[in-house]
Amino acid sequence: MSYFRAENLSLHFGGLKAVDAVSFAVEKGEILSIIGPNGAGKSSIFNLISRIYRPTAGRIFFEDQDITEVPAYGIARLGIARTFQNIELFENASVISNLLVGRHRHSATQLWQEVLFLPSVRSAEKDHRRRVEQVIEFLDLEPHRDKLISGLPYGVRKVIELARALCTEPRLILLDEPSSGLNVEETDDMSFWIQDMKSELGITVVMVEHDMSLVNRVSDRVIALNYGRVLAMGTPAEVQRHPDVVAAYLGT
């Protein structure tokens, strides 16, 4: 069976159908892009998967496990990480503090051990820092390691958002508009990193994106949404030629 699967996912706000019976599957190690006009329900699907919203109907399966009822904080522990469209970083902390929070799902120390700061806690801390350094190196964030988030530009913050998600050592990552607000250079960097995530780190990527050149460069498959419903599914070329998609989103 497929690595990740959503079946008949629906999210209704009263009469408004933000997501309407959406079904899709993601293969292990592939990069899937979700495209569509604004309000099509793309971010809502992510919010459903990371359980910020409860689905009105439908089920979600990850590695053949039904995760529809798992609470939001449990999703990370299963290996699914996400980034947010409107960056949700911790403003008053340094970059490294933000990234260390990403390691939370791997921490096994008890409260009393931490208060006494036993050697086991210390060695766990060092291990966390070592892995965070690996992520920093992967995303070229060394110059910013100790700076406070509040002083950093938007492009860098987007990368830190990605870095924090990577620190959780996910198997599946949900990227919500990774290139929005980035200039051409930064978008190029982002595309290389996404490809590296697939090839080097073996992470399955699902991303919501508006930048079609990025989608073409990077994705294995594409899903097009409109009004909460799936319009087309297939390779980038197929979807972009699909008449419904052209009419709703891409234009001639």
Partner: protein
């Protein structure tokens, strides 16, 4: 049965005062997301101003009333200018502490200027009762209820039929955007504080027949107005008054029927229950962050 009705009417009268204070809270909160912990003390100050005009200077009740309201409106604008405006972008916690500090200051200064004894204002309604059959309702309590109703009607018309209400709501959601849209945010905020202080003054003066004015009355009543505002739903103007009346009645009932000590605690127990079961209150709206 008659006792019950008496208690209910007392409760409603007291509740109107709570409601007016809560109304002040909600006004300021809707406009600026600031919860003015000094609202009760503004009420106390208004009462003292009225006492000065009516009791000490011997003015006519109505003229003294109007003077006190005008003076307090100006004072409200002054307080806003000095204390609130500089800190308007700060985290809510700091702003709350600043208003608490303001409250302390007002209380102490009032104590120093007027002394810490109790004072009474002579009102045209202090004497006299209305008799309906065997029921005896004192005019002073009825006057409070009537005045509240009139005040609410005036405010309702003011906020729903003018652009000020929309301007208020806009600046409470996003001040920067409201500013760019041409709303004179600073002036809106000043006016809201002036109105809020005026409403508090009315509450303070109306309170006079029911209980004495002393420098600590703001703390006691102001804190009781919180359950009122929460019960009504913190963002709702009619809710504040309804909440106040309910709390007043509950307190009155508790004082009459339950053993000693419950009277003061009952509003807070109600508050906690509301917060647990229906945090939006009776008229409030639940909001959710979009990520």
């Amino acid at each position: 049965m008659l006792d019950f009705v008496q208690q209910v009417v007392s409760g409603i009268a007291l509740g109107c005062v709570y409601g007016l204070i809560a109304l002040g809270f909600v006004l300021v909160y809707k406009a600026t997301e600031v919860v003015n912990f000094a609202q009760g003390d503004l009420m106390m100050l208004g009462g003292f101003f009225a006492f000065t005009f009516i009791g000490i200077l011997g003015l006519n009740y109505w003229i003294g009333f109007a003077c006190a309201v005008a003076a307090m409106a100006a004072f409200g604008m002054l307080a806003e200018r000095l204390v609130v405006r500089p800190i308007l972008g700060y985290p809510q916690f700091s702003i709350i502490m600043a208003t608490i500090g303001l409250g302390y200051f007002l209380r102490s200064v009032a104590g120093m200027i007027w002394g810490t004894d109790d004072f009474k204002i002579e009102t045209p309604f202090s004497q006299g009762v209305l008799r309906i059959g065997a029921l005896v309702l004192a005019y002073d309590k009825l006057s409070v209820i009537a005045a509240t109703v009139i005040l609410c009607a005036v405010l309702y018309l003011f906020f729903n039929k003018t652009t000020l209400g929309t301007a208020m709501r806009a600046s409470s959601e996003n001040m920067l955007a409201a500013y760019y849209m041409g709303i004179p945010v600073k002036r809106v905020v000043s006016i809201v504080w002036a109105i809020s202080a005026a409403v508090a003054t009315c509450a303070g003066i109306l309170l006079a027949p029911i209980t004495f004015i002393h420098s600590n009355v703001g703390l006691v009543l102001g804190l009781k107005a919180f359950p009122a505002a929460v019960l009504g739903g913190f963002g709702s103007i009619p809710g504040a008054v309804v909440g106040g009346v309910l709390i007043g009645v509950i307190e009155s009932m508790a004082g009459f029927y339950l053993p000693e000590g419950w009277k003061d605690v009952a509003p807070y127990i109600v508050l906690l229950l509301v917060l647990l079961l229906k945090p939006e209150g009776l008229f409030g709206l639940a909001a959710r962050k979009k990520v």
